[in-house]
Symmetry: C2
Subunit: 451 residues, 2 copies
Amino acid sequence: MNTKILLGEDQIPRQWYNIIPDMPGPLAPVINPQTLKPIAPDDMLAIFPMALIEQEMSPNRWIDIPDEVREIYKLWRPSPLYRAHRLEKALGTPAKIYYKYEGVSPAGSHKPNSAIPQAWYNKQAGIRRLATETGAGQWGSSLALACSLFGLECTVYMVKISCTQKPYRRSMMQLWGAQVIPSPSEFTNAGRAILAHDPECLGSLGIAISEAVEDAATHADTNYALGSVLNHVCLHQTVIGQEAREQMKIAGDYPDVVIACCGGGSNFAGLAFPFIADRAAGKNVRCLAVEPASCPTLTKGVYAFDYGDTAKMAPISMMYTLGHDFMPPGIHAGGLRYHGESPLVSQLHHAGQIEAKAYKQNACFEGALLFARSEGIVPAPESSHAVRAAIDEAVLAKEEGKERTILFGLSGHGQLDMGAYDAYLSGNLEDYEYPEQKIREALERLPKVDL
Amino acid sequence: MNTKILLGEDQIPRQWYNIIPDMPGPLAPVINPQTLKPIAPDDMLAIFPMALIEQEMSPNRWIDIPDEVREIYKLWRPSPLYRAHRLEKALGTPAKIYYKYEGVSPAGSHKPNSAIPQAWYNKQAGIRRLATETGAGQWGSSLALACSLFGLECTVYMVKISCTQKPYRRSMMQLWGAQVIPSPSEFTNAGRAILAHDPECLGSLGIAISEAVEDAATHADTNYALGSVLNHVCLHQTVIGQEAREQMKIAGDYPDVVIACCGGGSNFAGLAFPFIADRAAGKNVRCLAVEPASCPTLTKGVYAFDYGDTAKMAPISMMYTLGHDFMPPGIHAGGLRYHGESPLVSQLHHAGQIEAKAYKQNACFEGALLFARSEGIVPAPESSHAVRAAIDEAVLAKEEGKERTILFGLSGHGQLDMGAYDAYLSGNLEDYEYPEQKIREALERLPKVDL
């Protein structure tokens, strides 16, 4: 009886799966926030290399993974697929539960799957330095790692309050050689403007994005890198789902439902898109995106054009959104606190091709605790959303007396998030749910795009 | 070109390798600290199950691993063996560097290799609860995990100052269901005696051992578990070296030198013992134990009978020691701060069969930084000692213009030790070296055992 299914290094995918040609319709254009007109590819060259801009809108179903990227992937890929025998037993369910574990990367999450190729393509384009933002620190540390491995400099604008609350993540970035700048900072116009108005400002992801983009746009040798949302980020993450498909074959199984947590969307996309592609071959697989009830983009937002950031400097995309000035409550799943959603994931949801579900955080930590005590691994707070949903699917299977094969994504470990578990164990975790009235108000401030 | 060599679950060893029949001479007896006479096996039944007592002195070279233990090992074993291509390149060395990585366990270190079987044998003996001590928290969290998986209760006496300094490790133990008691506590005579004398006492590993042993000895349903030093702990860790031997075979290589950090000795034993066994077949492999200059047991201690703990309650063993009242400075490699040493490792060193080397901590963190920036993984402070020694062997090979095959043990990851890296990066790390005069004084207080 196997517990985990491993693949050899030669089975790391050689191509990423690009879902664009298989989407239910054409992609909506990306809109310039100043002109409210569609952006041309060249408009993005100030902050992205052409190779990534091309991936952003490529019509090709398969895109080769550079050898140099595959070589680095070998440090932790292929990641293991586990059969959760002990969790199944603890639940007394007839369901079979599998999970794909991305916490084996040096940064502890799936984020390096895209950080590595982003650093590589920028290096190839002659870029010397990458700028980015980070909140909880998962993306910042992954990009710091990637830059370290390719000899690029890395500047991370880290939300000021997170620098204090997540000092270990800040240290990891510095260990990998990145410069970490608490945001808002004196280094950018955006930062200075905020500080002039509010010297004590603790920062936000929106402000940090503005600083990183400005840094990249104003330095010829510097580009910007984003850790989720964009099409090319979802593309890079498809190594997860492709490996999982092969591993499920070895297990002699195929999932009835694929479950992943969903913030900006790249983790969900990475696991689910290769399975969605199987539908063309007649496979009948449900895909479930799980989000926090405090940031219920897919379950309570609207599908509309909206800005990517609070400051209205980032491009406008057609996506599910809670409104660009949505202020998410301080839940522990920091990686899921984004007002918008990957346009690809959004379009699939709008077309009814995927499902979405929202959970409050106590329910997620309850699931994560059961998981840790039966399977050993401590889930990241983000991943705990997928754990919870998988448990509920397994319990439903038990109630219905049905077999069911469940595959979920365990996107990262939670060893740097023990403060969150402390709060849960001591009963001090608040169950935020975002008020519908506030969402309605925010949605009245969406941009008016007229194509 | 392979980066890592993986084995399948069916290649997890089916037996542990017991070095006792292959030792250079008979084992010295273990001495009762009260009577100063040899201990009989039955004397230990108050705190250990018979199965472990038998393993402690077994004459059998191979000891079967129970199926239930192998099933749990599958959660992370076989652990990967890596070829450090990027580190070799950064050093410009002709040497080949391999490392065996134990940080993939749910607790992040090699400790669960023994925690799992210890919990299992106690469960089989009808024990309901295990008591132990922990300083840095690696062992306490591993035993908490093991108890959680087998449905045992777990009480961890955690050095009081560590509860504050290492809150994440405390939380991990609680997450896995353990009761964590700051030591000294009001729960034991040993703790109460200390507190009566010094209510503000911040605790020490010696006091915590006394509390855990007393707890086990005074409750019929409770046993004690130790995370290193003892023969049966070294035995359990030999899964590391056995797997590494098979993986080196797949790589088509054999190490000229095997390197591991050495505190209580079980990590070193686990990697090195199966290679030492190869000498009978004519293999010429050096084995190097690396310790901190601040706690230089093998390099500056003496080989003599000494107490296992400060309070003189634990058995007396023949071992390398710095004296039982040795107070190690507060270095970051908490797992290497023990005055004594595994009797097996000690005897091998005394017989000239292994080498030992001591490093100051800044040199270790310097090596760990180079490693993290080339190989990605952040080493635990303990493991950084082996990293440093491996780098020095590789640099020597370069200077001598010789090929050399180096295998070292990366016993754990350092993601919960970022404070130590912070101190190193900011230049605030002190380079303790233990004064020889103090060692000489401490050695005058060794027990007088007359057999």
